[in-house]
């Protein structure tokens, strides 16, 4: 049978506030255990939560970025369960009335653009961490993370298969960083996904029984986990079995998902509105203020890049993968002043490759947009060829000559040979030394022409102007 894989994703994005959602403790990562746990985070008797408005503001920013409704009134509820890293015995989370309702995210698939509907996004606090190593028969508890603000973003089951799920997660990841609400650091757990996976015969419009795979903290794990889980469910059904609704964990070492708990032994969380926190009221003025502070969003920027710079859709998409990348590109194009396409090619090509090689972002690039632009200007005015420019780029990256590309060109003697007399001399010498290639070309082998061009370039140590070489060669062979 032909199966369709249906996926919905719940994402926990850690909001980039300085302090926790209900206390003044720092949210910085990596501090000594429990050094960032205040009386409130420890749930001492008598303490009370006060809402961090910075977290609310970030949730509003997200809602506006995905075209959702910002609830004028939302409610914090208590989710009750016992666990050592949950000091109050309940987690404060939004349940029935979340702050962000609806919205959609556009993803790019091989079949084109697709809109993924969002169900909701709600604010909640993170739990602490239980540490099971180094305590010889006991467990340690680190409450530094307890109370860290999270935005849980829930998608509709609109994703079909692992590739779309990954495209969604990547787009969402880029968006939350773009609008500055989450640092997106997946190693530190700032962005983690749960995937709800089910399968159904293609053409069916009813959903199959789903399993939820928890805490996937890399795109690769997300992809592998969904692929494995879908295969497991299909095999189970094809063997005459039934999928049981479960929460499962992905084991990256074994590459498989394993049952954690079934629906039957799911907790009864006894949600009820938290009486310590009045309903969260967000008025129009607040929403409009946040809207006014929103940066240009990826979709809008992409459309503008196509319009303003004449870029192809694919290029515009690549250049808007992150705000930093887009800013870098725009600064380069602006400094160059004309031919924004060459700027696009270089930012997506040489620059991106170098950034990836060094695992840094454009904002940390040792070559500033203005430096790149002056290098590109030397290509455009014929001072150097594109090939030589790559060497200059490497030198710029290494900080040679104080990052001045003209100085590098001069110091290394890379200036392009555009003197017709000099090029003619080079061509004559090459023609004299390669009579066989000349004969082959005359016999109709076009390839031989390219070989001759290559010889001339080699003789000039790459500095001859390729266009002029072509021209002179054609004339002499003509």
């Amino acid at each position: 049978m032909n199966w369709e894989i249906v996926v919905g994703i719940e994402t926990h994005a850690q909001l980039s506030t300085q302090s926790k959602i209900f206390s003044g403790s720092s949210t910085a990562f990596g501090a000594a255990p429990n050094s960032q746990a205040s009386a409130i985070d420890l749930a001492l008797p008598g303490v009370l939560p006060t809402l961090n408005r910075g977290a609310v503001e970030r949730a509003i920013r997200f809602g506006l970025a995905v075209g959702a409704v910002i609830s004028p009134r939302s409610v914090f509820a208590r989710k009750n369960y016992f666990y050592p890293d949950l000091p109050k015995g309940y987690q404060i989370s939004q349940y029935e009335l979340p702050i962000v309702v609806g919205g959609a995210l556009a993803i790019v698939t091989p079949e084109g653009e697709k809109s993924i509907r969002l169900t909701r996004a709600h604010l909640e606090e993170d739990a602490g961490k239980s540490l099971h190593e180094d305590f010889h028969g006991s467990s340690g508890i680190d409450l530094n993370r307890a109370g860290t603000p999270l935005l849980e973003i829930v998608s509709e089951p609109d994703l079909r298969g692992a590739a779309e799920a990954v495209a969604y997660a990547r787009t969402l990841h880029a968006l939350v960083r773009w609008i500055g609400i989450c640092d997106g650091n997946m190693q530190e757990g700032s962005f983690r996904c749960d995937a709800n996976v089910s399968v159904r015969p293609r053409g069916s419009d009813t959903l199959g029984t789903r399993c939820e795979i928890k805490n996937l903290n890399s795109f690769r794990f997300l992809e592998k986990a969904i692929e494995y889980e879908a295969r497991r469910q299909i095999e189970l059904i094809e063997d005459g079995g039934k999928v049981v609704q479960q929460t499962r964990l992905y084991d990256p070492d074994q590459g498989e998902t394993r049952a954690m708990r079934s629906k039957e032994d799911a907790h009864d969380y006894r949600y009820f509105p938290d009486p310590d926190l009045p309903p969260l009221v967000v008025d129009e003025a607040w929403i409009e203020r946040v809207r006014g502070e929103l940066p240009e969003l990826p979709e809008a920027k992409k459309a503008r890049f196509m319009r303003q710079y004449g870029l192809a859709a694919y290029d515009a998409h690549s250049l808007t993968a992150s705000r930093e990348m887009a800013d870098y590109y725009e600064a380069t194009a602006a400094a160059l002043g004309h031919d924004p396409k060459i700027a696009a090619n270089w930012v997506m090509g040489e620059l991106s490759a170098a950034l990836n090689r060094h695992e840094i972002g454009p904002e940390a690039s040792p070559i500033a947009p203005e430096q790149l632009a002056s290098l590109l200007a030397r290509i455009l005015d014929g001072t150097i060829s594109g090939k030589i420019a790559k060497d200059v780029f490497e030198a710029l990256w290494a900080g040679e000559c104080g990052g001045n590309s003209d100085a590098i060109i001069a110091a290394r003697g890379l200036k392009q040979i555009s003197d017709t007399g000099a090029i003619e001399a080079l061509v004559d010498a090459v023609l004299a030394a390669n009579p066989r290639s000349v004969d082959e070309f005359r016999a109709g082998k076009d390839k031989a022409f390219n070989a001759l061009v290559g010889q001339v370039m080699k003789a000039s140590r790459g500095q001859a102007n390729p266009a002029q070489v072509n021209e002179v060669l054609k004339k002499k062979l003509g």
Partner: protein, 486 residues
């Protein structure tokens, strides 16, 4: 010295006719000698108390005294006070030393008041007789075989026995007003949100409210002036400009409209209590108040609504007492679940467990709508009843408790009978309204009767005005239990 009211002591201190140290020493001595009989205090800490008294004297000497500088005040053991053991009447917190001050304690410290000690209470404020305290019951100074009411029973007994001129309490369903009534003193529960709950151990967060207990309305006003105030650490605390709760004390009662809900004047009130309340009504009429018969049709549902909402919130609030970070941890346990079960089984008493069970049940899947949600709706109806009534009247009046103080052990085997003792006090916190109890006479056995007054939101000053004018005309609040007034 202990015969003086708080207001009188404040005047003596300000005039430097007495020192805080001699007053505090005297009251501490009285607390120590009476505690074996009354069990009103869980913790007395002479060094801390006397250090505060000395500091208060120094402050008075510098001429920087405030209204309550140097006045000893006893605090219900539900308020965290930095460095003081704070037990909430429970084995769970028997050895818990507070690492910070509650808002209320901060305010008293800032005013220069002296913490006389931490008073006994029903465990986690769950009870109407003070018999659920892990530290044993408090005894009523009017008859030591009887209960002082609860849950602020220790505070009430300490004030009635002239050990402390004033005390703090908390009220969730009547825990300030009912013990005030049963011990013949005044107790005021302010509008929800007037006193910050920061550092006050939570029982039912949407109902809990701190308030004063003292012998007179004027003393209550003085205490409330210190306790009230906005606090950003409590999101339910109301941001209002500070007010002087004494400002209306002297206002005559002529023209005041007093509502008598027919639901509060039926068979449920003992004859001697009804007689005392009737006497108070006549006195108030004599002072110029008009009585208006009103109806609060939904208050008959107060007790069942309360016993859904309060336990629901409590079941969640008490989850933090799990033996992991602080509080009682069982000596012997197997796995994690067993650590929770054993620690909580040992740490909590029977009444607390009963309420956690009820609360867990009403919030459970499949029962939430039928119990919790339904209770919230009726709570709204009860508030609406009061809003309608306050269109017609200024104050609502009745008896605070259906009977005078009962004997220790009388109701411990019948929780429902115990719960019904709060039948007249429960509606006000459900609606968030201010209410107070004022002594209005004595029953057949010579035990005090409390008059219950409910005001509209933030009209504490009006309640205090009515009570003060009544106290100018009567002397019930000056009567001391035998052997405690000399």
């Amino acid at each position: 010295m202990h015969r003086h009211t708080l207001a009188e002591l404040a005047r003596l201190l300000a005039a430097r006719q007495i020192s805080s140290l001699e007053l505090t020493r005297h009251l501490l001595e009285r607390a120590r000698s009476l505690n074996p009989r009354l069990n009103a205090f869980i913790t007395l800490d002479e060094d801390k108390t006397l250090a505060q008294a000395s500091a208060a004297d120094a402050r008075l000497a510098r001429g920087e005294g405030a209204a309550l500088t140097g006045i000893p005040v006893a605090h219900k053991d539900i308020f965290l006070a930095d460095g003081w053991r704070t037990t909430c009447g429970s084995h769970m917190l028997e050895n818990f030393v507070a690492p910070y001050d509650s808002f209320v304690i901060e305010r008293f410290n800032d005013a220069g008041a002296v913490n006389l000690g931490k008073t006994n209470m029903d465990e986690f404020a769950m009870g109407s007789s003070n018999e659920t305290s892990y530290f044993g019951p408090v005894r009523n100074p009017w008859d030591e075989a009887r209960v002082p009411g609860g849950s602020s029973g220790g505070s009430a007994a300490a004030v009635a026995a002239r050990v402390s001129p004033g005390a703090t309490g908390t009220d969730t369903g009547g825990s300030i007003r009912q013990p005030a009534a049963l011990t013949g003193i005044c107790g005021l529960k302010p509008t929800y949100g007037v006193c910050s709950r920061w550092g006050m151990i939570a029982f039912a967060s949407s109902l809990d409210q701190a308030g004063p207990l003292a012998r007179s309305a004027e003393d209550c006003a003085l205490l409330l002036n210190v306790m009230a105030g906005h606090d950003a650490r409590d999101s339910t605390s109301v941001a209002r400009p500070p007010e002087d709760y004494r400002r209306e004390l002297a206002k005559p009662l002529a023209g005041l409209r007093v509502g008598l809900p027919k639901e509060y004047f039926g068979d449920g009130v003992a004859a001697d209590v009804a007689r005392a309340v009737q006497g108070a009504i006549e006195e108030l009429q004599h002072l110029g108040a008009h009585m208006v018969e009103i109806s609060l049709p939904n208050v008959k549902l107060s007790v069942p609504v309360y016993y859904v909402i309060a336990p629901a919130e409590a079941s969640s609030n008490l989850s933090r007492f799990d033996g992991v970070r602080y509080g009682h941890r069982a000596g012997d346990y197997g796995d994690l679940n067993d650590l929770y079960c054993q620690s909580r089984a040992e740490g909590f008493g029977a009444e607390v467990k009963r309420r956690i069970l009820i609360g867990t049940y009403v919030l459970s899947h499949g029962y939430y709508d039928a119990y919790y949600l339904q209770a919230l709706k009726v709570r709204r109806l009860i508030a609406d009843d009061h809003a309608r009534a306050f269109g017609e009247v200024d104050v609502i009046l009745g008896a605070t408790a259906p009977s005078t103080a009962f004997r220790l052990g009388d109701k411990t085997d019948d929780p429902v009978q115990m719960y019904l003792n709060d039948i007249f006090t429960i509606a006000a916190p459900l609606a968030g309204l201010p209410a107070m109890s004022v002594p209005c006479g004595f029953g057949d056995t010579g035990l005090p009767v409390g008059l219950h007054l409910v005001g509209n939101y933030f009209e504490e000053a009006r309640l205090l005005n009515l009570a003060h004018q009544y106290q100018l005309a009567t002397d019930w609040h000056r009567r001391a239990p035998k052997g405690f007034g000399d």
